[in-house]
Amino acid sequence: MAQEFIVDGDRISAPLTSQPGDAVRGRAIVVDRQKGLCLLCHTGPFAEQKFQGNLAPDLSGVGSRLDSGQLRLRLVDSLKINPQSIMPSYYRADGLHRVGTNWRGKTILSAQDIEDVIAMLASLSEADAGGVQK
């Protein structure tokens, strides 16, 4: 079950957890095709990853374009930014239709996962298109 969060404008300013995000864990989630699923749609500065999708903008330098609050809303519920978005709402478990039994009532990522991913994305600056290295 997802906990409450406050949307202010185009951000969720407050972190979802008290534990700060871990960018290294975040990177592992982003490249995991079962968990983060990000590279099914996005490309990004993950040179070792073959078969990145091309349904969504490149994530290189996204930390320079968006702040953590904006990244948080984007991940939690992209439909609040663009109601037609195909990007899944990673922190939403209700209002969905015919969810498979294995997934019912669960969010795609946990609150801590989201914070970890934000920490990683925030580190992807235009200056350093390499991002967090393993």
Binding site: G9, D10, R33, L37, L39, L40, C41, K50, F51, Q52, G53, N54, L55, K80, I81, N82, P83, Q84, I86, P88, S89, L96, H97, R98, V99, G100, T101, N102, W103, K106, I108
Partner: protein, 256 residues
């Protein structure tokens, strides 16, 4: 600020959200495959689906059920009686006035006309017979019946097509109308035309029906798939055939 952004989006996207693929833009699923898989489909001696068709031919001529009748006992040679049939299914079944797809029609003949037990969905026999019957339409244009009784079911299919499903919250249209030709990870997104089914899929190492493919797509977005033979699948099949009207039938298709 985000408010105005949202309004701007809804107006522009309302147009794209109901966009359909223009007739000149339509591409068979085979066109999204590698040249070697295309060649495998084109050449009957290398297309593994032809083995299923051969098996279907044997079943066509084999007596079954309490009446001891074969399909051929009533229908004669399939290359005449079944020509063009697959290209116009699903169609209305006269006695129930409900739509039935090709597999369902074959099973009705099993139970009503052969007095045999219906064949299980995805069974070798049902896939073989369906492939053999559909092969008799190869090269013929998909021709959905001009039958007003089908309209409500086709409309239901279109509604399902545009409905978001599953934990990943995707509609069929978002992938197959709005993003065909792009890549989801390594997989090119095709336009979802049903004209090659049943197919031989290399990943399955076997034949599969259109409904099996649709269940894969639903599971992919973490949705609870509709059941084999369900009204929802018949409705979706009707809608898919109407989207593909005029495209040549290709059964048996090969897919990666």
């Amino acid at each position: 600020m985000i408010r105005t952004a949202l309004i701007a989006f809804t107006t522009t996207v309302a147009v794209t959200a109901i966009a359909q693929i223009a007739p000149g833009e339509r591409r068979s699923g085979a066109e999204f495959m590698s040249p070697s898989t295309q060649a495998m489909q084109k050449d009957d001696t290398s297309n593994p689906g032809m083995l299923a068709a051969l098996e279907g031919e044997t079943l066509w001529n084999a007596p079954a059920g309490n009446e001891g009748k074969s399909c051929a006992s009533c229908h004669g040679p399939a290359d005449k009686s079944m020509k063009g049939v697959a290209a116009r299914y699903p169609a209305i079944h006269q006695s129930t006035s409900m739509p039935v797809d090709l597999q369902g029609r074959i099973n009705l003949c099993r139970s009503d006309n052969q007095k045999a037990s219906p064949l299980r969905f995805e069974s070798r026999e049902l896939l073989a017979l369906t492939t053999y019957v559909a092969l008799q339409s190869r090269g013929m244009p998909v021709s959905p019946p001009d039958d007003a009784r089908l309209d409500p079911f086709r409309n239901q299919g279109e509604t399902l097509w545009r409905q978001r499903f599953g934990q990943l919250n995707f509609s069929c249209a978002q992938c197959h109308d709005d993003n065909w030709g792009k890549r989801l990870g390594s997989a090119p997104i095709p336009q979802a035309h049903p004209n090659g089914y049943p197919i031989y899929r290399l990943e399955w190492q076997g034949m599969g029906s259109l409904q099996r493919r649709l269940r894969n797509c639903m599971a992919g977005v973490r949705a609870e798939p509709f059941g084999f033979g369900s009204d929802e699948f018949i409705a979706l099949e009707l809608y898919l055939m109407s989207r593909a009207a005029g495209m040549p039938m290709e059964t048996p298709g090969v897919r990666p």
